[in-house]
Subunit: 370 residues, 3 copies
């Protein structure tokens, strides 16, 4: 691992130093586990206790940080976490794969592979595909005929880039993600559902990151599109003809059904879902597990299923907790006025809910089940 002096690092991120500028640092770590040779960072009040107990040799801190009795060298910056993120790569450079085409990779005639491209073991590139300069392709990854991959992309193990998919520069795709698979499109016919051929494209912007085992369908007729700098966590599903703007953050297990449009800068909590043919305005905030079934205006904040404005949803949740009490109050009023009614008992259906919980089962024909 390389080593750097505090003044080296301070220069790179524009820090002013309180303490020893010649101290040598050989690693980065969190406040809790850092030792005298490590750089850590302090970014918010919740870390106050940790920063006072740390054994780190140096700490990145906000410009306003007061040294009051700490023993580490301080590097004061505008944004400690951003500076830290930049410094991490100095100590831990991204591992560089072997350059060139692995002997077990299979490149069809007519594929064009740029300079400094690395294709790992078992990679398959079909005819007409183009791979930009400096792109790294992990083992077992498939790049279909006519696909276009930008420069400096990073693909993990066993990624699928289907025929005709277009990816911008510096796109990261993690292991097992599928880009350009068929959308879920059928028309009822006399003999059951008839598959609608999925002939649209799939266009991914620059600096997009796509998590492990995500699935992004190609368009039915037109294209599925994801804008620049948008980031998808793992296991996200994007249906056909969806258009996602730039700079979105989409957490794990989110599903977006066909033809919906997501404005720039939207953020989704985990396991949220969007029904088909909707518009989510730019800058919206979709809480985790929300079920969006109507359009959301720009900047809208929604939660719940069906989704409603976040404020209403929270208010309802609060009132919901006091429902049992309300039933009693109404019953009291009725007794006062001579009317009927009473409190319900917990229904049998309620008690069944826990069956969604996995048990180590003890039943018959099916030994053990979720």
């Amino acid at each position: 691992m390389p080593a750097f002096t505090v003044s080296d690092l301070a220069r790179r991120v524009g820090a002013d130093v309180l303490g020893d500028p010649d101290r040598r640092l050989c690693g980065v770590a969190s406040l809790g586990v850092a030792g005298p040779g490590d750089l850590a960072f302090f970014a918010r009040e919740a870390m106050r206790e940790a920063v006072h107990g740390t054994r780190a040799g140096a700490v990145l801190a906000p410009r306003s940080f007061e040294p009051g009795g700490v023993r580490f060298t301080i590097l004061r910056v505008d944004d400690p976490q951003l500076s830290f993120a930049r410094i991490v790569r100095l100590f831990h450079p991204e591992p560089v794969p072997a350059p060139g085409i692995h002997p077990t990779a299979w490149i069809d005639e007519g594929a064009r592979v740029g300079e400094a491209v690395s294709l790992g073991p078992g990679v398959v590139v079909e005819g007409g595909a183009r791979i930009g300069r400096g792109t790294w392709v992990g083992p077992g990854t498939f790049i279909g005929r006519g696909a276009r991959v930008g420069v400096g992309c990073r693909f993990g193990h066993a990624v699928s880039i289907l025929h005709g998919v277009e990816l911008g520069d510096r796109v990261r795709v993690h292991a097992g993600a599928r880009i350009g698979t068929d959308g879920f499109g059928y028309v009822p016919g006399p003999d059951g559902a008839h598959k609608v051929p999925q002939i649209g494209g799939c266009v991914i912007g620059a600096d997009v990151e796509i998590g492990a085992n995500c699935t992004i369908d190609r368009g039915a007729l037109d294209d599925t599109r994801i804008g620049d700098r948008t980031k998808l966590d793992n296991l996200v599903h994007v249906g056909h003809n969806v258009r996602i703007g730039s700079d979105c953050l989409i957490a794990a297990h989110v599903g977006i059904a066909g033809s919906s449009e997501i404005g720039a800068g939207t953020r989704f909590g985990g396991q949220a879902g969007v029904a088909g043919h909707l518009r989510i305005g730019a800058g919206a905030r979709i809480a985790g597990q929300t079920g969006v079934v109507r359009d959301v205006p720009p900047g809208g904040q929604v939660g719940g299923t069906p989704a409603r404005p976040r404020r209403s949803w929270l208010k309802e949740a609060a009132y919901l907790g006091r429902l049992p009490d309300l039933f009693q109050r109404v019953a009291r009023l009725e007794r006062g006025s001579g009317a009927g009614g009473g409190a319900p008992r917990v229904r049998r259906d309620g008690s069944g809910v826990g069956e969604g919980e996995p048990r180590v089962r003890r039943d018959g024909s099916d030994a053990g089940s979720a």
Copy 2:
């Protein structure tokens, strides 16, 4: 791309033509992007504006369509979308892979591979497996020992067909789907959960389509079964011993726990879940994100968690929105009658819900988290 005259196409789908039967068409497109050489289709009122603005050369429309001043040639049919779906493949034939066995594929002795089968690079077929005539197997796909694959199947990249799995004819399996993996079955033992060997089978009917990165477990003792023509979107989970009837449509991220039975023609919205050991009757409709914890009768429509009849669920949701008002009304009545009570404030737990939403975090030990 091939070209067809309007009369060619009309003959194939039984259309009557208003306009120029000799017009040559060289592609298909949606109304919004079609040009003079394209065929588009008009299927419902929501497309009325688009059809009047289209630049398409010809449009498939219902028998009742009135030409009133449009410039395109009209092909009137019983079902414009179904006719369109059939015509798409004329212009965009399914890409045919190289026939035969790729030199990097590995076929164990004792596997039987039918005529006109295509096995892509890196495919692995174990002993005893049988692959029917005309089936295409994408690169990196695995077919385990003793598996039986019907004729005319289409498997994408990196699919797993585990040992002994049986698939009918014309089954489509998209990239990364896993069929016949172990179910989630344990028995508590003195030293922790004891794995129940999963020795059942997995039987998939004809014309089934299974989306990218789905997981379908084999049975524990008996078989997991999926009926003819059922379609699964991406990332669907099917537990062990589940039996799904024919002609179901199951949207992305749906999970069906062990031993549940799903009747024919059932439809699931995205992210819905079914607990174990339940029966969903034929033709049921399960709304997106529903949590089914009890049996659903044939034709039943349910929503919510725990699932309840769709009508009750919607009614409750409507009343829920007026809860704050109801609390005020009861308080008013109490004041009139001299009783106590009041409106609750938004609880702290409510305000925490947004933590399910991804943020570009600025905290400490863990630089950036979902």
Copy 3:
């Protein structure tokens, strides 16, 4: 298939036999499908009818089981299902792959592969990786540089074990699971979200089982950890820096966001989610589809979104079903007292919920969508 006498089997599981100890059994089956040569098991009252109708030659039953007129030989044990699980492997030994390294596997220099290891076709092992004795690695699986794999592990097809990941002994990883992928970590910068390099590790304990297509991210700075004997069903997501204790059971589609800690022995129902930076105490029970947004105490049982104590959640669900009635009662009281108000109609937003349900669509530009 091997055959065993009843007395053979009885000896192995400590059963007392009522009936013919010399009866030869050649298989295991559920009560419903077992024949005269099969062993089945009876474990709970719900199987009472099945046990009396079974054609099984022998049945494992609790010590208290009364033979009353059954024709099969009875093996009475303390725990019929546990005994059955043990016996299954006698009849169905785990299929043993070809030993040694397949000619199409690619092992980098400096990797250390133990005795009796099986590496299937197309396996890739990078430099510095170590694989313990007796581990089986399925076709197309990737083991990154410096990864450490214990003894007796079982990896399916196309698994990803990324660089530096550590797995204990006897870990099972099913097809398509990704272990050690990058976490979802970004810091806002002047030019959009800035990726935080994910340099932490991923440490998996002994006897852990990880389902098909799961994704387990490596830590950002510190490690992601999963304790001994914990079992994950399919399609589970575990974010960076998450720490899961031992002996947990986590059903399909569960998502756990970054830095949360899950105590030992916790059980999750399917599709439940946990927001980031939370603590779930040991032995907690999280119902299916629960959205956990606050800490849960040891042994806590929660349900709903946002999660609340299971009892409150069920109570609220019960009262919710009687809300329409409550509105009427309040209106009646108001009429009696001369105040206003009335029942709401089902809102338009409610009626849109069904759009989360997949339909065979009949719309325009996008032929068929989820």
